[in-house]
Subunit: 421 residues, 2 copies
């Protein structure tokens, strides 16, 4: 057992609260949250929080982890040129070995940002899953059905395989997006959702032109089309949701479909600013993702939270919009539930031990007037003191414990990039 | 002498470039930038960069350092309520002792973000200057003339005093803003600018309502009024410059007046998005500031650079806008020159040794496809390995060397806040 003591605990059960409790972890689970006890069981390790904050890990609810290979490779360019000249041709060269190494690199960055799980959509899922398991990191793979897949039935085999692969890995049904997937293939995906009574996810209303194209093709916005086709029959979510109209928002709220916002990517690719406050007010369940590092360029939940809040303020011309507590809840609880990790959403007895310790003894957290607002408006990777996934410390005081030295991962990634770029 | 070797050097002379040079520092100056030499003089310390990047420090060209006391004290509120109920009443209680301690706290945060100089406008300048000198930090004080000053002639005495106070401190003329300063007082300031042939600075076109009020009062926008009144006769700059029309921009370009953008503050207070790209294209000299921590809430130049770039992309609907290299130049060279620190703008022989070392061996900097874009789009406080001001290492590997322990500064700041808030 591991004991965390002498600190603060942020939890969400019954609303965001901060207590002076201890947290004990046994194996992969949190087994005790409460006041210090006179008699202690034997512990394998006792971690003195020294007044620091223990809280649920952040969940990156939309990402393409291995895209770190394109970080800062092509920026400040028009969108189409970037995508067709700089992204697609290089992605085509990715081997399973490359996906494995780049995924390991991306996981290092998640850990340094206090992220304890990712909801990933990309290629070569066998290599991807192995990189996560080898690192000790938790991931949910989302299928990316589209018209370029040679064999769409592979998704059903993957669905069965990766939901019975390892405790750190699960798999959700998804299509890449309406604009890359034929009606026939979307219908096939709907049949899979029906067969397995499974939720379904996809890029959805990311750009204005995507919405306009869908309306032209089908006479419906993407959310309405996807719903009409039965893809949301058992829930699911849309990635980005930048261009949602009132009907789209009402639909997501009514059906409990997650809107997963990616504010940094939407800024950098000039896609727009999602109506986060409007969706929250309407009752849409929400989560936050980084998107891939090619369009961000960091995997940094502090940046995403800051933007998810402050972009609401400027776009709604209201400094009271985008309340920090709502954003923090999205990043922790919303993210976990969006990807089906309901056991990873909070600090509570019986939950999986996916947690972070935030260093409050850094100048950007002082004075401690309000911890939640400090996290959202001033937090940074420098504040991540420890990241634990499934009961294992994978990151602490700048060092990584993922079964491989970072320098070796950097070296391999650089060598791969020399052959790919 | 201190020797930095085995790394990369980013400099701006003749355009942004990265070399494999060494850098030697003697006293407060850079005395050598060039290839490794066979014969070395005796060094007091030799710092192996291990492939990391040495570059000019960031300059925070608009801030109110001591406002860290209000960090996360009142957020997510309407602007007027925030300002009149939560900021002004507490600022009125600030003593010189409080300014001293809060300034020391703010300086810690600057150092952790690679910021080597601040351009500050606030109260109790004697205590403020002492906090900087005691910390070894460089600052330029800007007077904040307004209608609430009991004695505006004090500014002339401060101008003379703080420009002859300590090598780390200088003083520039400024008014708080047009909307807080009577015509008579602005005329007095213009006479001081004339008398000392000195540049003049002020909050300028920060909000839409400020511009509308000025036009109503004077029939001119703030930039045009301030120019007409002679405040820019010897140069200077405007803080924020969020709402600049084409004529304002042409005026700033023609006269070489600095536009100092504060993107995070403008987001959080819902002020707007400054036309950074348009100003740069027109030839306006530009710099970047954090504004105070009450409206940001971090003092983090990485966040500011990211926003200064990416907000251009989304607001102009052009992913090619806000080029990283321009933004980085603003943060280093532009900032130094905006505040009159022309000797602190670059890594070159004879320049003052205000520099930072960026840790490239963190996952967010890997792979190293493009260092400038990495800094702007993925950089974070976690990447600041070392910050040197005036030839002294004030921050290294998370530890501060400012003549006082951070924990003691935190303790004092917390005690003060208990009496103020």
């Amino acid at each position: 057992m591991i004991r965390f003591y002498n600190g603060k605990v942020l939890s969400f059960g019954g609303g965001l609260k901060i207590t002076e409790d201890e947290v004990w972890v046994d194996g992969s689970r949190i087994v005790y949250v409460g006041p210090a006890r006179a008699e202690l069981p034997p512990f394998q390790r006792q971690i003195d929080l020294k007044g620091d904050l223990l809280m649920p890990g952040f969940k990156d609810a939309h990402t393409h982890t291995a895209m770190v290979f394109l970080r800062s490779y092509a920026d400040d360019m028009p969108l189409q040129e970037w995508l067709y000249d700089k992204v697609f041709p290089h992605e085509a060269k990715l081997t399973p070995e490359a996906i494995y190494t780049f995924t390991r690199l991306g996981i290092l960055e998640y850990l340094s940002s206090g992220i304890t799980a990712s909801f990933d959509m990309y290629y070569h899922n066998e290599a991807y899953a192995k990189a996560n398991v080898d690192s000790g990191f938790r991931t949910v793979i989302c299928s990316a059905m589209n018209d370029f897949d040679a064999d769409p039935t592979n998704i059903e085999r993957e669905f069965l395989r990766f939901n019975d692969y390892h405790e750190l890995v699960s798999y959700r049904l998804g299509i890449h997006a309406e604009y890359t997937t034929s009606r026939q293939r979307m219908e096939y995906m709907a049949s899979l959702a029906e067969k397995y009574q499974a939720p379904c996810y996809m890029h959805c209303a990311e750009t204005k032109s995507e919405v306009e194209g869908c309306v032209e093709r089908y006479g419906l916005t993407p959310p309405q089309l996807l719903d009409r086709m039965g893809l949301f029959r058992y829930g699911g979510g849309g990635f980005h949701c930048t261009w949602m109209n009132d009907e789209d928002i009402a639909l997501f709220a009514r059906k409990g479909i997650y809107a997963i916002t990616n504010p940094a990517s939407n800024l950098k690719l000039a896609s727009g600013i999602a109506p986060v406050d409007q969706m929250l007010s309407a009752g849409v369940p929400m989560a936050i993702g980084t998107d891939g590092a090619a369009s961000n360029n960091a995997l940094d939940m502090f940046r995403e939270m800051y933007l998810a809040s402050c972009l609401q303020k400027v776009s709604r011309n209201d400094a009271a919009a985008g309340k920090a507590e709502n954003i923090l809840t999205m990043a922790c609880v919303g993210g976990a539930r969006a990807m089906g990790l309901n056991d990873c959403d909070d600090i509570a007895e019986g939950k999986l031990a996916d947690l972070v310790v935030i260093d409050l003894h850094r100048p950007n957290m002082q004075p401690v007037n309000n911890i939640a607002k400090n996290l959202v408006f001033a937090g940074s990777k420098e504040n991540v003191r420890l990241t634990m996934v499934n009961g294992r410390v994978l990151y602490e005081k700048g060092a990584f414990f993922v079964g491989e030295e970072p320098e070796e991962i950097y070296r391999q990634a650089a060598a791969l990039n020399r052959s790919i770029l």
